[in-house]
Amino acid sequence: MTVQTRRQFLAASAGLVIGVALPIRARAQSGAAAALGDGTLAEGSFAPNAFVRVAPDNTITVFCKHIEFGQGPYTGLATLVAEEMDADWSQMRVEAAPADDELYKNLAFGIQGTGGSTAMANSWMQMRQAGAAARAMLVAAAAERWGSDAATLTVSAGTVSDGSNSATFGELAEAAAAQDVPVEPAVKNPSEFTLIGTDRPKVDSRSKSDGTAMFTMDVYRDGMETVVVRRPRVIGATVASFDDAAALEVPGVTAVRQIPQGVAVYATSTAAALKGREALSVEWDYTDAETRSSEEIFAAFSEAARSPGLEAEKVGDSAGAIAAAETVHEAEFLFPFLAHAPLEPLDAVLELKDGKAEIWMGAQFPGADKGAVTQVLGLEPADVTMNVMLAGGSFGRRAQPTAHIGVEIASIAKAAGRDGAWKLVWTREDDLTGAYYRPITVHRMRGGIAADGSIVGWEDRVVNQSIMAGTPFDQGGADPTSFEGSTNMPYALPNLTVDWVKQELPVAPLWWRSVGHTHTAYATEVFLDELLEKAGKDPVQGRLDLLKDEAGRDRAVLERVAEMAGWDGTKVRGDRAYGVALHESFQSYVAQIVEISDAGGLPRVHKVWCAIDCGIAVNPNVIRAQIEGGIGYGLGTALYNELTLGEGGEVQQLNFDTYRMLRINEMPEVEVAIIDSDADPTGVGEPGTPPIAPAVANAWRALTGSSPRRLPFARAGV
């Protein structure tokens, strides 16, 4: 398996040529037919490749290789296909592609996967070519039928015409299936786009407004049991012993089994399973557990920040420059463990029958989870089917290189020791205590300002765990996801050192919406803002003056957001204060300005202006939605969220009463501007999140004199 890191992919993407891997003859009904099984293609359907199916009823189904959990790939990828086919939007349908690491690989990863805000970027040419191929074959079929020259035919709203004859795609589907598949079909020039670049309604809004959308937890199979697992409150603890007598007396509980993840309670209903779990008595073995408190971990990280780490970026001589500086500024920023807390807790359904397994789950790496089930149950890969379901949020949580949910549901089936069907349900308590957190991170920053106010030295030492270590994405050496954003800043700093001190903990880390940028944007943009303030400079103009010549896209979003907010250098106006932040992530450039006030010791954010450059805006409607949501997600977290380990390592936040979600009364007004661009599209799921916390912290400093050195703002919870 060849695996590229996101970074490698992005570095190479400018010259990347993505072909649609197609067999030469379409009669093979390539891709979809192979992946979906012969039985799923309706008679007379046309499946030119693994991504598009045209049915005689004139519907076009796009098989989306990316999981849909709100970030919009169903709509976005369908838009690309519809654009190149010249289809009518109303005839488009979308289904989840099944798990297939070859056919449906993320071209950025080399395996099927969703993450790193890559869905649109890696699908951009692939889906357009898939649509263009389908269009060419439909046109060829029409030309054959009418004896016309294919080059003279026109296609509009899903209908092919030669001036005197016309036929819908549906009418041409069967004949199109017999046409040659163009290997590298020509795609449109962007000036010809009619769908791309306009607001598209989302294909899943109706089913998500009337309760009909089907998620993993909504799957029920005949004879299915619900399983909940008693897990340790101390991360890494294992079962020493347990007493299941009381649990087994609960009506509906059918079995209790020890599995690697804890003690599983099997029941005929969710309520019975939960009641059975409450009745369990478990003793834990803490040998391999993290028994330190988060305060102890922070202290150890701060200590580790005193010694140099692996060099991540170096320009000039920062130590010398800071030593010679007129003013030296230092800061240490502390970032807590964070849980993703998708609103649909983790879950999975597995049915095992006669040596074949079928799985339903919202997996971001479906091949990994399918592989885990195959391995744990000792099955042949061909006997395992994975249905990728809609997921009720993820924010990175379901992107599991460890496939721990696949392992867990398979372990449940294995421990049952029989054929059957099981639904694994995590409760919110399981979710918050279940690790895979955004890792605790410490940034130790030093900066030097010369007498003329210029920033002459910059040092940023990052201390945290490696997310990539031990995963297929591990490249060895420094893990860029630990410090991405601290490196490659858009600012021209003549003397700069960024280094990384790797820490190892028994608490599994994971990418959390925007990964390393969750903390690097805060540390760099707050610290820079403080340096500019000490140098007597305006936060907007000061940044613009510092931008490298090649940072034109950063410059454009910053200038645009300043214009939107009417920025005139006023940081405090009455009881309102204003702050700015600029941060690129996933090759999208985002600047935000916030308006806040002091609501009883916490910032109340009234308004956020945001400018983004994410290349060609495929669907501005979805981009605005992702920015709105990304801001809300980042704001709630900055204000309220920390997962803390108490004495002995016990996780202290069990549910939303102590791990508080942002609510509607706290949501600011959000105004989004999308920069016109002809660059290939880049991510929008994550880049809206990083700038909000530093922008708020900078406004807070304008109002109160200081920005928090440790997040969240509400340290004591609520």
Binding site: S209, D210, L343, G393, E628, G629
Partner: protein
């Protein structure tokens, strides 16, 4: 054993009285539009109507529902429901969608009592419904849009 109606149909369930309505709806009646998010009435994903008023089904034992009328996202009807769902679709409120059945229920509950809510009214009625995707900007707008439709 409690007897009540769900979406207009009589229901008698052979499950313990302390079973939360949420799980009875999902596991026993296979009405899966009502969602589980926290289990402690903090997120609102499980909101249904009980006797016409929004109610968190995760903390409602079915034993307390004798004679009650329960409506879920699958069965709820009326002009407010149509307006809210049309407004939701109209500006693409949902992202992941997990919370939205509950959001729709609460919005309908609000509009039935207050056909022209202010932003503050919306905040007060909807603050119990968490949206982890933070679709709140659009939820607020969609409720105003629905109110306009109902008036128009």
């Amino acid at each position: 054993m409690a007897t009540f109606t769900v979406n207009g149909k009589d229901v008698t369930l052979e499950v313990p009285d302390d079973t939360p309505l949420l799980w009875a709806l999902r596991d026993d009646l296979r009405l899966t539009g009502t969602k589980f998010g926290c289990g402690i009435a903090q997120c609102g994903a499980c909101t249904v109507m009980v006797d016409g008023m929004p109610r968190r089904s995760c903390v409602t034992p079915i034993g307390t529902l004798d004679g009650a009328s329960v409506e879920t996202i699958e069965g709820i009807e009326g002009p407010e429901v149509e307006a809210v769902q049309a407004a939701w679709v109209g500006i693409d409120v949902p992202q992941c969608g997990w919370c939205q059945s509950g959001q729709v229920m609460s919005a309908v509950g609000l509009l039935r009592m207050n056909p022209a809510p202010t932003d503050e009214d919306i905040d007060n009625a909807m603050a119990g419904n968490v949206c982890r995707c933070a679709t709140y900007v659009r939820i607020r707008q969609a409720i105003h849009d629905a109110a306009d439709m109902l008036e128009g």
